[in-house]
Symmetry: C2
Subunit: 122 residues, 2 copies
């Protein structure tokens, strides 16, 4: 293809964008990036790559509905250690280790209840 | 920091994961990547960077609730041209051009109604 792939960011609604950013910065080993109005952002440290994350303050609370989009955090065989680290940061485990289609993962939720998967990439 | 930032993928629930992948492949100028069970994935072309996108077939339809996470597609001053291209691929415009906090964007929806923003990055 003649044109490069598009630049992409992930925007997450938040009741408390500062706290949610703190969680995801620690989870992803990102760094705080910027702040404007209702928005806070985070980006990989210099030398790393990954999409920018943006946390947008919204007044409407999460409903009980599962998010239609979610983040997978890809890790190696330190998955159990990583799940414990994320719990210590304020995440919750929603499942045990699920093994399917040649992959395994744990479903977790961030401090505001957004589901994400911790995925073991062989 | 001593450890690199985490690898991340974005997983999108889909009624029709093949069709939704086709849309996002064209929208992001990605390429189809793999297929396993209820999952289809897409990744940047060789030489480009960006997170893997995974489309997961689910039976529960989208509710009317706005997604708590969404994707921003970052473009330059071809934003209007790009909005037209995405409409031709099956997206809908949900707003006109919104100008706020030094940025401007158009809110759109993919063929399954998932909101995303087309963001003009100056």
């Amino acid at each position: 293809m003649s044109e490069p792939s598009r630049n992409l960011a992930i925007v997450i609604d938040a009741a408390d964008p500062d706290r949610l950013r703190d969680f995801w910065v620690a989870a992803m080993r990102y760094e705080p990036y910027g702040s404007a109005g209702a928005y806070r952002s985070a980006a990989p440290s210099q030398g790393s790559i990954g999409p920018k994350l943006v946390f947008q303050q919204v007044d409407d609370p999460r409903t009980g509905t599962k998010n239609r989009l979610h983040i997978d955090i890809i890790v190696g065989d330190e998955i159990e250690h990583e799940a414990e680290r994320l719990e210590a940061l304020g995440a919750r485990r929603l499942t045990g280790l699920i093994v399917e289609v040649g992959t395994s993962w744990i479903v977790m939720a961030d401090p505001e209840g957004n589901e994400f998967c911790l995925v073991y990439d062989t």
